[in-house]
Assembly symmetry: C2
Homo-oligomer: 193 residues x 2
DNA sequence: TAAGCCGGCTAACGCCCGTTAGCAAACGGC
DNA sequence: GCCGTTTGCTAACGGGCGTTAGCCGGCTTA
């Protein structure tokens, strides 16, 4: 858990606005002049607050990675049946996705515009997170609580389903984040028969 | 099924190379000069073959949409149990994804760089395709072959899992496309218990 | 009231972008 | 052997890009 120093409010606002633009148009297709206009500024003024365009992307991507790891750790630290831990991990994952779906979309799609070595570091984190799910499922299989021919495969499809959420989630929708999480868990753990 | 006129070979090669670059770097971050260099040309020469950068993206996105619809139609035209039809539709979808995973990745991620009205037309096609899966699942539920509280939800998670495939599929991997398709179908239809 | 930071401006830098115009070599079919 | 098509080149266009330098008003704190 890298301790993120509290951002000055203006800087946090820049991050939020940039995140929304990055999500809507993509990182490469969003210009600093567009971002400045959206904030009611001139382009040059942004550089009183940030060092570069990529710095924003870096903060968004790694900040969200921290959130995902924190959620997973909290969900799996109790001594509960593995299936219940997996359910909790799904809920935690969905909570992060829904709490800031714009940042999540950026996290999922725009990380490749990070330049090295940040890009490789990011991918390593992503692999580690996926590995944690894989290991959890494997423990469930070993304990006889879960059944799948291939835990890696299962982890892949599970996370893929969850990560599609930012594409259709609307905060004003009928289902609350936790209801969505439980339905997803139900669906993914029980299948369609 | 819009009949795609056969492309002249050079033009087809430009499309293929561009697709690979769009996938690796993203549409907006890929320059015509990069594309030309990858083909051993100068940037201006590209315009003897194509009208614009976006034209390439348009062809890739809509061409793949055609493939998906064709696969789905072939999979569901026989009078088989709905569950079997769904299995076949999954296999068809996976075949398209694996046959050209670069184009699939572009189809899935870069369509938003289409300008209007192409962008809206693309989204309408995508909705229609998703709707076809949803309807198929709903028919399965009505026939008592499938069980899910919410066919729309099920269609969403199913396609999400499948569409993650281009992110990890490697043609030289151990599993053949059809083996992957059957495992995915198994996983998604039966769950983890 | 002075000092110092915070937040913003204007102007400009060098560079890269997509695209066009005009020209020329190579080649296949009649 | 001619003609049209295909394929490519060079040079340049107007414009947008990320970023920097230098400046300044206004707020906070001593």
């Amino acid at each position: 858990m890298s301790t993120t120093a509290p951002l000055r409010p203006r800087k946090a606002q820049i991050d939020r606005t940039a995140t929304a633009l990055f999500r809507a148009r993509g990182f490469a297709a969003t210009s600093m002049r567009e971002l400045a206009t959206a904030l009611g500024l001139e382009a040059g003024s942004l550089y009183s607050h940030i060092k570069s365009k990529e710095e924003i992307l870096h903060r968004v991507c790694f900040g969200l990675a921290d959130s995902f790891f924190a959620g997973f750790a909290a969900a799996t630290q109790e001594a509960a049946p593995v299936a219940a831990q997996l359910r909790q991990a799904i809920v935690a994952h969905v909570r992060v996705l829904t709490h800031d779906s714009a940042a999540s979309a950026v996290f999922l799609h725009e990380w490749r515009h990070l330049s090295e070595p940040a890009r490789s570091e990011f991918l390593a984190l992503r692999d580690r997170y996926e590995g944690a799910f894989r290991a959890l499922i494997a423990r469930g299989v070993a304990a006889g609580e879960l059944h799948t021919p291939d835990p890696a495969f299962a982890a892949l499809t599970l996370l893929a389903s969850l990560n599609w959420l930012p594409n259709w989630y609307r905060p004003e929708g009928k289902l609350s984040p936790d209801e969505i999480a439980h339905r997803l868990a139900e669906q993914l753990l029980s299948g369609l028969v």
